[in-house]
Amino acid sequence: MVLRQMIVLHAAFCEGEMLLWGESPEEPSRTKGKRRTRKSTTNSPYDSGGARLSQAVAGIGIVFDPEKDTRQAVAWLPTVKIKVFPSSTLIADVAEDTAEAALAPWFVTALPLDAGRSHLLLAITGSRRRQGSNFLAPGVIIGDDLAFFADALWFSAGLVIRQQFLPDLIGGDGQYRALWRPAIVGQDQDKFHALVEAMPSSARSLTSTDAAPPSEAADQSLLDYITENVDALVRSPEDPGHRRPQHTLHDKWLHALRFGNGHIESPDPKMDELAHQVQEWRRPVQSSVDSPFRLCFRLEEPGDDDEQWVVRYMLQGARDPGLLVPAHDVWHGNKHGPLARQAPALREHLLVSLGQAASIYPKIENSLRKKTPAKFLLDTRGAHDFLKETAGALRQSGFGVLLPGWWNRAEAAQLAIRANVESSAQMGSLSLESLVQFKWEMALGEEALSLSELDELAKLKTPLAKIRGKWVEVNTGQIQAASAFLKRRTNEVASLGELLRIALGAETHSGGPLKFSGVTATGVVGDFLGKLQGKDTAFEDLAPPDSLEGQLRPYQVRGYSWLAFLRRGRLGACLADDMGLGKTIQTLAAIQLAVDNKEKRPYLLVCPTSVVGNWQKEAGRFTPKLTVMVHHGQGRARGAAFVEQAKKHNIVLSSYSLIYRDFDVLNEVQWAGVVLDEAQNIKNPDTKQAGAARALTADSRIALTGTPIENNVGDLWSIMEFLNPGLLGTYSDFKRKYFLPIQLFADAGATDRLRKLTSPFILRRLKTDKNVIADLPEKFEMKVFSTLTREQAALYEAVVKEAEAQLLMTTGMERRGVVLATLMRLKQVCNHPAQLNKDKEKGVANRSGKLTRLTEMLEEVLGIGDRCLIFTQFTEMGDILKEHLELTFGREVLFLHGGVAKKNRDRMIERFSREDGPPVFLLSLKAGGTGLNLTSANHVFHFDRWWNPAVENQATDRAFRIGQTRNVQVHKFVCVGTLEEKIDEMIEKKKNIAGRVVGGAGEAWLTELSNDELKELFALRSEAIGE
């Protein structure tokens, strides 16, 4: 195998130390001639060794000596006989039966990481994983154990931030350690146990010698690791410089807690006594850490005839929060229940916890005047205090708190100010600049409140009120402010844009104590806002433009109408449908509609270089009436000439790199709109192209993407800022209000607000959506048009030139040979220069338009968990693809070709059908074209073409056959401007008779063409070149 540079990085926590090691594919030279036996521990065949380990992490700033700094460690790995199972089939595919596997020791080269290095590595690992990447660097794959430790470090950091730790002193016999020990209580316990469940075995499979396998339990190992983290994180990295003289053991302990590594060497036997004392001192906290139960308070609403709220005491299982034992049962518990034997200990625990909680809330203390306290009562005001203050304080102290469900949704039940717009049913066209008259009104949750109702509420003087059967929070101060506000301000005017921001929650605060809760509106404005938010009435479906060729599917009509609707409001739209649902045709239809409605100005359509050709083709196919100009490549128009030309077209196609480079001239044009295809290209707001995209002036904006951008909060700002400037505030606002709270603390409120704010502008349909599935054919074919790189174009022309010369000199069989050879070579060039030149060691990325496009598409396919088949005729191309895709995605790619033995072939098929199996299956058309059943794939790629629809269909049917439950998308790759496109056109024209003309004989019919016809066929058209 060629993937020698690949490494899977592993981490294991071993005897208090973090060890980093790596797996790489076996080097052929090492296997040859050296048969290992399992009599004694030997080196793992997949051990990466110090040098590769060093290379892998050097890029992130961890530099070490591969020889001196590493050491030999023993990895206990699943092994059958003499074969060890690697972590990934990227390393090797072991066909042995997993049922017989047992742990056996193997030597690996390990790098011990101190806290600083391991935290750096894990922080970067965690950040890569949150970005959805499985790579630390190209070819450096993050092992699951490494990723796990990144999570565990994150958890440890949370403990330190929230100051959940307490000093300790451990050791004996002259060797001691001052230690910051985490105190994992309350909800942290739940998370800790979830982490234990998540921990891969490999995270604790290393030992220093091969004497015995690791024996520590997972929870203990994880706790030790977290303890080491917390200790290291709490210690100040700075040295104090000056040192206080250490006269006593107390001085020694305190100093060791603050500085250095905490180790204390002291022959003083009194140190043991001190350590014992420290345990005693820690006991109040340690006992709650160790307890299997925690005290929990449950607030219960008053019954119908009741005024009193009840807070009941319970013991809640620390490992199982669903286990609740009422205090009553603990005190009086029946003697035969499952907890009967623990009852005295439980009672003591309950007593201690109540004693601790008593100092937090006096009502608890009062309740303890009984022999067996089990609850306390609250009036409504008290219940409100409990909800607002006490519950949080109790939680922070590690107690459980259970509150009524409506409180957690309290945002909706607060008094808030709302804009009420009554507009007429017809008002002409609306834009964000339109001025709108409105009134302010007060609302509690959804209910509007009149002034008199407000005054009624104010008289109640309770902070919680039951309004129409629902409890809501009322705040006298707020009510008075609201009443004053309403009396002061009645009729107002604002732009629709301002109201929109209030409606979507971008504006949260009126400046006083009142919050905005949105906008209610009638008439056109209500209509507009309602449609925008997908409430009540939806925007109406528009008839597809007459000049649109081809049929829009029902969901496409929705998407197209939605684009048009937002355009009317001059709002930006992000169409984020799954790949294959036809973002292109929806966009083209929307543009056609605008043009039909007398839009004279051109649209600027920006896309990656690899799909310029595709857009051109699709526009020609679906909207032949639209004039398209390609602004791309060396010969593109510049300056005034460009502006002149652009004005004469409906669509100007350009690429991301050019919107920055040619920004000045592009911005000269009055654009009807700007469309960004594969808009994730501007997700990083600091890039030049993102800045240029935002700076372009246009009336309407559309972003197209197939990756679920709403899942990646960090990427959202740049795209939304392009679409609707100002909606999310400045980037630093956005980071503070949304990104950090969501990313660091999973803040549900911030997540909701952001979703509410952005969802009107994002339309994303999945293939699996019910109403989409119904619209989709079970199998649908798409051509994927890609361009050539300059290297490909040069090679292509060289091959053609050579062929032309040869054709003139040959006849008969010889000529046929030349034709077929040339065809073959041109196809190879279209596939990849390295396939023709056999120089893949020069690198394969960015040398082939097809490969670039395939990689982009697979990113989407794999991103949503789909699986695919890729067919090629060429084994060499299969090798190139396998290597490139594995390195790019860090997932194994199966490759079935003629040389694969039956046993292996069966195993590949079996593995591909497994849910956790490799998601990409490469097949050579000959080996895989028939007989197989691969219905777990729902995408089929034909990377190169057989020019015989029957053969291709047969291959496609590997996925599309009985057992397939999903729609199958077939992507046929074609290089524009090359013979591939021309043959494709010929086949399309003669589709009905194609089977007859070209059937069976493959490409032989091409040899019958005349020299001129061949010349025409081979000639490279100018649009072929993508650079």
Binding site: L103, G158, I161, Q163, F165, P200, T248, W281
Partner: protein, 399 residues
């Protein structure tokens, strides 16, 4: 015994407010000291200091000073004496002054008659210690009401300047170790002699019957046990004692059993007072100390309350662990399918970011008993807590 207080009334006399205790405000001997005198041992004077020097080497001490084998729970007894300051022979300047109260004068005269020859002039120096136990709080000797109650017993004893000396001792680290045993506290106090004195402080015990009655009264309300267990003395417990005709704290001198190996015949002497003050601070943290001093351990008392001993419960728990179903081997399993792969981690691993009480856990467990460090324990560590929290929060926001 020199003095007897009348029955102490809980409410009648509030303990002294926790005002800073300074030499300057002390009733006697203060005028002769410089404002900074507290920090200069040579300015320290003890009217018995000189007599101490005369008696150096005298093995026939007034109080028995048994050598005890070290026991569990013992503090670092005598860890520092060898580090004591310059030998007493490098005599500090003697400062003559008038004798204090009547009893003291008598005492002084009598001592003088035993061969002092100093002519009524008393000089004193505080023998510096390294790493003695110092009161941590800047003000007072204990914050809680029960600690103040404890201190007030001592302060009502008309000890005159001995009380003040005792405070100074407690502040300057003259107490070298404190060991709490069931029924008695034994401490080493550095006086002006090189060899520390041994101080014993005990409180009159209670009979088993009395304890039992008390336990019955206390178990009628959960609050007593709950508060005591969580480190707080419930106020009502005094009433519970009184209803049984008992008293939780010593109320009169005869309730205390104190002794010191120093030559001062007065009891309590300043060494006893110093230990007493330090105990006040420890009461803050551990209200159970008063029970322990009266011969009742925490475990025994809880056992009486629960009607069943806590140890028994612990035994049952341990037993259950033993009889629990044999667990699977703790090491990782060998099946390669589960070996390498992880499951998804829980959400929100960092936890809520809201306001964090500074060093809440540290304050929950409180002061370290009889702290002997040069830096203040709680203040120093609280700074570490806050610093670490801020530093980590800052760091992770960069990733």
């Amino acid at each position: 015994m020199p003095d007897n207080e009348s029955e102490f009334d809980a409410g009648a006399r509030a303990p002294e407010p926790a005002a800073p205790v300074s030499e300057a405000s002390s009733p006697a001997g203060a005028a002769a000291e410089s404002p900074n005198g507290r920090h200069d041992p040579r300015n320290r004077r003890d009217r018995y200091g000189r007599r101490d020097r005369f008696r150096r080497g005298d093995r026939g001490q007034a109080q028995p000073a048994q050598a005890k084998p070290p026991q569990q729970g013992q503090l670092e007894k005598g860890a520092a004496p060898e580090a004591a300051g310059p030998p007493a022979a490098e005599a500090p300047p003697r400062v003559s002054r008038a004798p204090g109260g009547d009893r003291d004068r008598n005492r002084g005269n009598r001592q003088g008659g035993r061969g002092d020859g100093g002519g009524g002039g008393f000089s004193q120096r505080l023998r510096p210690t390294k790493g003695g136990i110092k009161v941590q709080s800047k003000k007072g000797f204990g914050e809680s009401w029960w600690a103040k109650r404890w201190i007030s017993v001592l302060e009502n004893m008309r000890m005159g300047t001995r009380l003040q000396r005792g405070r100074t001792y407690a502040r300057s680290g003259q107490v070298l170790s404190v060991e709490v045993q069931k029924g008695v506290v034994i401490a080493q106090v550095q006086g002006s002699r090189p060899k520390p004195y041994q101080v014993r402080v005990g409180v009159k015990g209670m009979s088993h019957k009395e304890w039992f009655r008390l336990a019955r009264a206390v178990s009628s309300q959960a609050i007593f046990a709950a508060k005591l267990l969580s480190g707080e003395m419930p106020r009502e417990i005094e009433q519970a004692f009184r209803r049984e005709g008992l008293s939780l704290f010593p109320t009169k001198l005869s309730d205390l059993k104190t002794s010191c190996t120093c030559p001062d015949w007065s009891n309590p002497c300043k060494h006893i007072a110093a230990v007493y003050y330090l105990l006040g601070e420890e009461f803050d943290r551990d209200p159970f100390l008063i029970f322990t001093m009266r011969g009742m351990t925490r475990e025994d008392f809880m056992g009486m309350l629960g009607g069943r001993k806590a140890e028994a419960a612990a035994e049952i728990m341990a037993e259950e662990e033993e009889t629990a179903e044999p667990e699977e081997p703790a090491g990782p399993p060998g099946n390669p399918d589960d070996f390498w792969a992880r499951k998804p981690a829980p959400d929100n691993l960092l936890g809520e970011s809201g306001e964090v009480q500074p060093a809440a856990l540290l304050h929950r467990v409180g002061q370290f008993p009889f702290w002997r460090g040069g830096d203040k324990f709680l203040e120093t560590l609280q700074a570490t807590y806050i610093g670490a929290s801020q530093r980590v929060k800052q760091t992770i926001s960069e990733f």
